[in-house]
Protein backbone atom coordinates (compact mmCIF):
# COMPACT_ATOMS: atom_id res chain seq x y z
CA UNK A 1 0.00 0.00 0.00
CA UNK A 2 2.80 2.40 0.79
CA UNK A 3 5.01 1.42 -2.06
CA UNK A 4 6.99 4.00 -3.96
CA UNK A 5 6.29 4.59 -7.62
CA UNK A 6 8.57 3.05 -10.19
CA UNK A 7 8.77 6.25 -12.17
CA UNK A 8 11.91 8.35 -11.73
CA UNK A 9 10.03 11.45 -12.70
CA UNK A 10 7.25 10.85 -10.18
CA UNK A 11 9.74 10.18 -7.40
CA UNK A 12 11.45 13.45 -8.18
CA UNK A 13 8.22 15.38 -8.17
CA UNK A 14 7.09 13.73 -4.94
CA UNK A 15 10.41 14.36 -3.25
CA UNK A 16 10.19 18.04 -4.03
CA UNK A 17 6.61 18.71 -3.01
CA UNK A 18 4.18 17.97 -0.26
CA UNK A 19 2.57 15.28 -2.37
CA UNK A 20 5.01 13.10 -0.49
CA UNK A 21 3.00 13.74 2.66
CA UNK A 22 -0.19 12.59 0.98
CA UNK A 23 1.55 9.48 -0.25
CA UNK A 24 2.46 8.72 3.32
CA UNK A 25 -1.21 8.76 4.21
CA UNK A 26 -1.97 5.77 2.05
CA UNK A 27 -4.00 3.32 4.10
CA UNK A 28 -5.56 6.00 6.26
CA UNK A 29 -9.15 7.14 6.16
CA UNK A 30 -9.33 10.75 5.20
CA UNK A 31 -11.56 13.39 3.66
CA UNK A 32 -10.84 14.92 0.30
CA UNK A 33 -12.59 18.12 -0.67
CA UNK A 34 -12.93 18.82 -4.34
CA UNK A 35 -12.88 22.05 -6.24
CA UNK A 36 -16.52 21.74 -7.10
CA UNK A 37 -17.26 21.60 -3.37
CA UNK A 38 -18.17 17.97 -3.31
CA UNK A 39 -16.32 15.84 -0.81
CA UNK A 40 -15.25 12.27 -0.41
CA UNK A 41 -14.33 10.44 2.77
CA UNK A 42 -12.71 7.05 2.46
CA UNK A 43 -9.53 5.03 2.73
CA UNK A 44 -6.66 6.44 0.73
CA UNK A 45 -5.48 3.76 -1.66
CA UNK A 46 -3.03 5.75 -3.70
CA UNK A 47 -1.82 9.25 -4.39
CA UNK A 48 0.48 9.82 -7.32
CA UNK A 49 2.87 12.66 -8.01
CA UNK A 50 0.17 14.55 -9.90
CA UNK A 51 -2.05 14.38 -6.84
CA UNK A 52 -4.50 12.01 -8.48
CA UNK A 53 -6.23 10.43 -5.50
CA UNK A 54 -7.73 6.97 -5.31
CA UNK A 55 -10.06 6.15 -2.46
CA UNK A 56 -12.07 3.10 -1.49
CA UNK A 57 -15.22 2.62 0.60
CA UNK A 58 -16.15 6.19 0.13
CA UNK A 59 -18.88 8.36 1.51
CA UNK A 60 -19.31 10.83 -1.30
CA UNK A 61 -21.24 14.04 -1.04
CA UNK A 62 -21.87 15.73 -4.33
CA UNK A 63 -21.76 19.49 -4.69
CA UNK A 64 -25.41 19.77 -3.85
CA UNK A 65 -24.90 17.82 -0.67
CA UNK A 66 -26.47 14.57 -1.78
CA UNK A 67 -24.74 11.63 -0.16
CA UNK A 68 -23.99 8.31 -1.75
CA UNK A 69 -21.64 5.44 -1.17
CA UNK A 70 -18.98 4.75 -3.71
CA UNK A 71 -16.94 1.57 -3.71
CA UNK A 72 -13.92 3.05 -5.47
CA UNK A 73 -13.24 6.61 -6.44
CA UNK A 74 -10.52 8.21 -8.52
CA UNK A 75 -10.21 11.99 -8.32
CA UNK A 76 -8.09 13.81 -10.87
CA UNK A 77 -5.38 15.84 -9.15
CA UNK A 78 -6.55 19.05 -10.70
CA UNK A 79 -9.86 18.73 -8.92
CA UNK A 80 -8.49 18.24 -5.44
CA UNK A 81 -8.85 21.26 -3.22
CA UNK A 82 -8.01 19.92 0.24
CA UNK A 83 -6.90 16.67 1.70
CA UNK A 84 -7.54 16.39 5.41
CA UNK A 85 -4.61 15.08 7.42
CA UNK A 86 -5.91 12.85 10.21
CA UNK A 87 -5.14 14.25 13.66
CA UNK A 88 -3.24 11.17 14.75
CA UNK A 89 -0.77 11.42 11.91
CA UNK A 90 2.65 12.85 12.69
CA UNK A 91 3.40 14.94 9.64
CA UNK A 92 7.18 15.15 9.95
CA UNK A 93 7.51 11.45 10.62
CA UNK A 94 5.38 10.65 7.62
CA UNK A 95 7.44 12.84 5.33
CA UNK A 96 10.74 11.42 6.63
CA UNK A 97 9.55 7.87 6.18
CA UNK A 98 8.47 8.52 2.63
CA UNK A 99 11.78 10.18 1.79
CA UNK A 100 13.63 7.19 3.15
CA UNK A 101 11.58 4.89 1.00
CA UNK A 102 12.40 6.93 -2.06
CA UNK A 103 16.10 6.90 -1.26
CA UNK A 104 16.04 3.17 -0.71
CA UNK A 105 14.46 2.63 -4.08
CA UNK A 106 16.83 5.03 -5.75
CA UNK A 107 19.94 3.40 -4.31
CA UNK A 108 18.83 -0.14 -4.76
CA UNK A 109 21.60 -2.10 -6.44
CA UNK A 110 24.16 0.65 -6.19
CA UNK A 111 27.32 0.44 -4.13
CA UNK A 112 25.82 2.79 -1.58
CA UNK A 113 23.87 1.01 1.08
CA UNK A 114 22.02 2.02 4.17
CA UNK A 115 22.95 5.45 5.38
CA UNK A 116 25.97 6.02 3.20
CA UNK A 117 24.02 8.01 0.71
CA UNK A 118 23.64 10.81 3.20
CA UNK A 119 27.33 11.20 3.95
CA UNK A 120 29.76 13.25 1.93
CA UNK A 121 31.55 11.58 -0.88
CA UNK A 122 34.77 10.04 0.40
CA UNK A 123 37.92 9.03 -1.32
CA UNK A 124 36.29 5.85 -2.52
CA UNK A 125 34.59 7.77 -5.29
CA UNK A 126 37.62 9.72 -6.49
Amino acid sequence: MMEVTHSIRERTIAENSLVILLQGLQGHVTTVELRDESSARGRLVNVDAFMNVRLEEVDYCDRRGRPSKVAELFITGRNVRYVHIPDHVDIMDTIQTQLQKIHRVRNFGSSHRGRKEYSKKTASTL
Partner: protein
Amino acid sequence: MVLLKNVPPPTEGVRHQQAETAAVLDGRALGSGTLYVAETRLSWFDGSGMGFCLEYPSISLHAISRDLSAYPQEHLYVMVNAKLGDEAEMEAEKKEEDDDDDDDEDNSEDDSGPITEIRFVPTDKAALEPMFNAMCECQALHPDPEDDDSDDDFEGEEYDVEEAEQGHGDVPTFYTYEEGLSQLTVEGRATLDRLEGMLSASATQQYHMAGVRTDSTAADFDDGMEVDPGSTVAGQFEDADVDH
Protein backbone atom coordinates in the same frame (compact mmCIF):
# COMPACT_ATOMS: atom_id res chain seq x y z
CA MET B 1 -14.03 15.70 -25.50
CA VAL B 2 -16.48 15.45 -28.30
CA LEU B 3 -19.62 13.81 -29.47
CA LEU B 4 -18.71 11.96 -32.60
CA LYS B 5 -20.57 9.79 -34.97
CA ASN B 6 -19.23 7.18 -37.30
CA VAL B 7 -15.74 7.37 -35.88
CA PRO B 8 -14.07 3.99 -35.72
CA PRO B 9 -13.16 2.68 -32.30
CA PRO B 10 -9.49 2.91 -31.31
CA THR B 11 -7.27 -0.02 -32.14
CA GLU B 12 -4.10 0.91 -30.33
CA GLY B 13 -3.36 1.30 -26.65
CA VAL B 14 -6.69 -0.15 -25.58
CA ARG B 15 -6.21 -1.04 -21.94
CA HIS B 16 -9.69 -2.43 -21.53
CA GLN B 17 -12.65 -3.10 -23.72
CA GLN B 18 -16.06 -4.00 -22.43
CA ALA B 19 -18.91 -5.07 -24.65
CA GLU B 20 -22.55 -5.14 -23.61
CA THR B 21 -22.17 -1.93 -21.74
CA ALA B 22 -24.99 0.55 -21.59
CA ALA B 23 -24.23 4.24 -21.53
CA VAL B 24 -26.37 6.79 -19.73
CA LEU B 25 -25.48 10.38 -20.43
CA ASP B 26 -26.89 12.95 -17.99
CA GLY B 27 -29.73 10.60 -17.36
CA ARG B 28 -30.34 9.86 -21.00
CA ALA B 29 -29.98 6.20 -21.92
CA LEU B 30 -28.04 5.69 -25.14
CA GLY B 31 -28.50 1.97 -25.38
CA SER B 32 -25.97 -0.83 -25.27
CA GLY B 33 -22.55 -0.71 -26.80
CA THR B 34 -18.87 -1.24 -26.19
CA LEU B 35 -16.67 0.83 -23.93
CA TYR B 36 -13.04 1.33 -25.00
CA VAL B 37 -10.60 2.46 -22.35
CA ALA B 38 -7.66 3.49 -24.49
CA GLU B 39 -4.54 5.38 -23.53
CA THR B 40 -5.44 8.32 -25.74
CA ARG B 41 -9.11 8.67 -24.95
CA LEU B 42 -12.16 7.01 -23.52
CA SER B 43 -14.84 6.09 -26.03
CA TRP B 44 -18.07 4.25 -26.34
CA PHE B 45 -19.85 3.08 -29.46
CA ASP B 46 -23.13 1.35 -29.95
CA GLY B 47 -23.79 -1.37 -32.49
CA SER B 48 -24.37 1.06 -35.35
CA GLY B 49 -21.10 2.88 -34.83
CA MET B 50 -22.57 5.94 -33.14
CA GLY B 51 -20.94 7.05 -29.96
CA PHE B 52 -18.74 9.53 -28.20
CA CYS B 53 -15.18 10.12 -27.09
CA LEU B 54 -13.85 11.68 -23.96
CA GLU B 55 -10.43 13.19 -23.45
CA TYR B 56 -8.92 12.28 -20.09
CA PRO B 57 -8.08 15.85 -19.07
CA SER B 58 -11.78 16.58 -19.23
CA ILE B 59 -12.62 13.88 -16.70
CA SER B 60 -12.85 15.16 -13.13
CA LEU B 61 -13.38 11.84 -11.47
CA HIS B 62 -14.58 8.33 -12.02
CA ALA B 63 -15.96 5.78 -9.61
CA ILE B 64 -17.47 2.37 -9.10
CA SER B 65 -20.91 2.76 -7.66
CA ARG B 66 -22.50 -0.19 -5.92
CA ASP B 67 -24.98 1.89 -3.98
CA LEU B 68 -28.30 0.74 -5.37
CA SER B 69 -30.16 3.42 -3.47
CA ALA B 70 -28.32 6.07 -5.42
CA TYR B 71 -28.69 4.32 -8.77
CA PRO B 72 -30.48 1.04 -9.38
CA GLN B 73 -27.57 -0.71 -11.05
CA GLU B 74 -23.90 -1.15 -10.26
CA HIS B 75 -22.01 0.96 -12.73
CA LEU B 76 -18.92 2.97 -13.60
CA TYR B 77 -19.59 6.65 -13.02
CA VAL B 78 -17.66 9.33 -14.89
CA MET B 79 -17.87 13.05 -14.28
CA VAL B 80 -16.79 15.24 -17.16
CA ASN B 81 -15.99 18.88 -16.57
CA ALA B 82 -17.85 20.17 -19.59
CA LYS B 83 -21.07 19.82 -21.40
CA LEU B 84 -20.96 17.23 -24.13
CA GLY B 85 -21.71 18.78 -27.50
CA ASP B 86 -22.84 18.50 -30.54
CA GLU B 87 -23.95 21.48 -28.53
CA ALA B 88 -26.93 22.48 -30.56
CA GLU B 89 -28.34 19.03 -30.62
CA MET B 90 -27.63 18.24 -27.01
CA GLU B 91 -28.93 21.50 -25.63
CA ALA B 92 -32.07 21.43 -27.65
CA GLU B 93 -32.84 17.99 -26.40
CA LYS B 94 -31.95 18.94 -22.86
CA LYS B 95 -34.39 21.79 -22.90
CA GLU B 96 -37.14 19.49 -24.00
CA GLU B 97 -36.24 17.07 -21.31
CA ASP B 98 -36.08 19.66 -18.59
CA ASP B 99 -39.78 20.30 -18.72
CA ASP B 100 -40.83 16.89 -17.71
CA ASP B 101 -37.49 15.84 -16.38
CA ASP B 102 -37.77 14.68 -12.82
CA ASP B 103 -34.22 13.46 -13.03
CA ASP B 104 -32.32 15.54 -10.53
CA GLU B 105 -29.39 16.06 -12.90
CA ASP B 106 -30.25 19.70 -13.14
CA ASN B 107 -27.08 21.57 -13.88
CA SER B 108 -28.53 25.00 -14.40
CA GLU B 109 -28.01 25.99 -10.80
CA ASP B 110 -24.40 24.98 -10.47
CA ASP B 111 -21.82 27.70 -10.20
CA SER B 112 -18.71 25.66 -10.53
CA GLY B 113 -19.01 24.95 -14.18
CA PRO B 114 -21.01 22.68 -16.42
CA ILE B 115 -20.58 19.00 -15.98
CA THR B 116 -21.74 15.89 -17.68
CA GLU B 117 -22.43 12.75 -15.73
CA ILE B 118 -22.00 9.49 -17.55
CA ARG B 119 -22.79 6.04 -16.28
CA PHE B 120 -21.43 2.96 -17.96
CA VAL B 121 -23.47 -0.05 -16.93
CA PRO B 122 -21.85 -3.31 -17.97
CA THR B 123 -23.87 -6.47 -18.11
CA ASP B 124 -20.97 -8.21 -16.41
CA LYS B 125 -20.65 -6.53 -13.02
CA ALA B 126 -17.34 -8.24 -12.38
CA ALA B 127 -15.92 -6.09 -15.15
CA LEU B 128 -16.33 -2.93 -13.09
CA GLU B 129 -12.97 -3.39 -11.36
CA PRO B 130 -10.88 -3.80 -14.51
CA MET B 131 -12.78 -0.98 -16.19
CA PHE B 132 -12.09 1.29 -13.23
CA ASN B 133 -8.44 0.27 -12.97
CA ALA B 134 -7.86 0.77 -16.67
CA MET B 135 -9.28 4.26 -16.39
CA CYS B 136 -7.04 5.04 -13.41
CA GLU B 137 -4.00 3.99 -15.42
CA CYS B 138 -4.97 6.00 -18.44
CA GLN B 139 -5.86 9.04 -16.40
CA ALA B 140 -2.40 8.98 -14.85
CA LEU B 141 -0.96 9.22 -18.35
CA HIS B 142 -2.54 12.63 -18.74
CA PRO B 143 -1.36 14.87 -15.93
CA ASP B 144 -2.73 18.37 -15.81
CA PRO B 145 -0.66 20.51 -18.17
CA GLU B 146 -1.63 23.64 -16.29
CA ASP B 147 -0.26 22.45 -13.00
CA ASP B 148 2.49 24.84 -11.98
CA ASP B 149 3.48 23.19 -8.72
CA SER B 150 5.03 20.08 -10.08
CA ASP B 151 6.93 21.97 -12.74
CA ASP B 152 8.83 24.35 -10.50
CA ASP B 153 11.55 22.00 -9.42
CA PHE B 154 11.46 19.84 -12.38
CA GLU B 155 11.98 21.02 -15.89
CA GLY B 156 10.90 19.21 -18.98
CA GLU B 157 12.82 16.10 -19.61
CA GLU B 158 13.35 13.14 -17.45
CA TYR B 159 16.79 12.74 -16.13
CA ASP B 160 18.38 9.98 -14.21
CA VAL B 161 18.47 11.19 -10.65
CA GLU B 162 20.88 8.45 -9.63
CA GLU B 163 23.31 9.48 -12.26
CA ALA B 164 23.08 13.08 -11.23
CA GLU B 165 23.67 12.16 -7.62
CA GLN B 166 26.55 9.79 -8.11
CA GLY B 167 28.04 11.28 -11.16
CA HIS B 168 30.53 13.83 -12.18
CA GLY B 169 29.00 16.79 -10.47
CA ASP B 170 31.08 15.90 -7.44
CA VAL B 171 34.32 15.52 -9.32
CA PRO B 172 36.23 18.58 -10.48
CA THR B 173 36.18 19.08 -14.20
CA PHE B 174 39.95 19.11 -14.38
CA TYR B 175 42.56 16.96 -12.78
CA THR B 176 45.63 18.02 -10.91
CA TYR B 177 48.75 16.50 -12.34
CA GLU B 178 48.96 13.52 -10.05
CA GLU B 179 45.28 12.72 -10.30
CA GLY B 180 45.31 13.06 -14.04
CA LEU B 181 48.21 10.70 -14.33
CA SER B 182 46.51 8.07 -12.23
CA GLN B 183 43.38 8.28 -14.35
CA LEU B 184 45.13 7.52 -17.60
CA THR B 185 44.63 4.25 -19.35
CA VAL B 186 47.50 2.36 -20.91
CA GLU B 187 46.74 4.03 -24.22
CA GLY B 188 46.54 7.37 -22.49
CA ARG B 189 49.97 6.91 -20.99
CA ALA B 190 51.40 5.92 -24.33
CA THR B 191 49.94 9.01 -25.94
CA LEU B 192 51.26 11.20 -23.15
CA ASP B 193 54.73 9.73 -23.49
CA ARG B 194 54.69 10.26 -27.22
CA LEU B 195 53.59 13.87 -26.89
CA GLU B 196 56.19 14.52 -24.28
CA GLY B 197 58.81 13.14 -26.54
CA MET B 198 57.65 15.40 -29.35
CA LEU B 199 57.60 18.42 -27.11
CA SER B 200 60.99 17.90 -25.61
CA ALA B 201 62.46 17.26 -29.02
CA SER B 202 60.98 20.35 -30.64
CA ALA B 203 61.34 22.86 -27.84
CA THR B 204 64.65 24.02 -26.50
CA GLN B 205 66.00 21.77 -23.81
CA GLN B 206 66.01 24.51 -21.23
CA TYR B 207 62.30 24.78 -20.88
CA HIS B 208 60.41 22.68 -18.45
CA MET B 209 56.85 22.38 -19.64
CA ALA B 210 54.04 22.04 -17.20
CA GLY B 211 52.78 18.53 -16.90
CA VAL B 212 55.32 17.00 -19.21
CA ARG B 213 57.96 15.85 -16.77
CA THR B 214 56.91 12.41 -15.71
CA ASP B 215 59.95 11.48 -13.72
CA SER B 216 59.61 14.27 -11.23
CA THR B 217 58.04 13.77 -7.88
CA ALA B 218 55.54 16.30 -6.66
CA ALA B 219 58.21 18.07 -4.69
CA ASP B 220 60.33 18.65 -7.76
CA PHE B 221 57.55 19.79 -9.93
CA ASP B 222 57.68 23.36 -11.03
CA ASP B 223 55.32 25.30 -13.16
CA GLY B 224 57.60 25.21 -16.11
CA MET B 225 57.73 28.96 -16.37
CA GLU B 226 61.24 29.27 -15.16
CA VAL B 227 64.22 28.73 -17.27
CA ASP B 228 66.80 26.47 -15.79
CA PRO B 229 69.65 28.89 -15.25
CA GLY B 230 72.27 26.26 -15.50
CA SER B 231 71.65 25.28 -19.04
CA THR B 232 71.45 28.38 -21.11
CA VAL B 233 73.34 28.47 -24.30
CA ALA B 234 75.13 31.56 -25.48
CA GLY B 235 73.16 33.47 -28.00
CA GLN B 236 70.06 31.58 -27.12
CA PHE B 237 67.85 34.59 -26.87
CA GLU B 238 69.10 36.51 -29.85
CA ASP B 239 66.08 35.59 -31.87
CA ALA B 240 63.67 36.48 -29.11
CA ASP B 241 61.71 38.76 -31.41
CA VAL B 242 60.55 35.89 -33.48
CA ASP B 243 57.06 34.70 -32.80
CA HIS B 244 56.84 31.04 -31.96
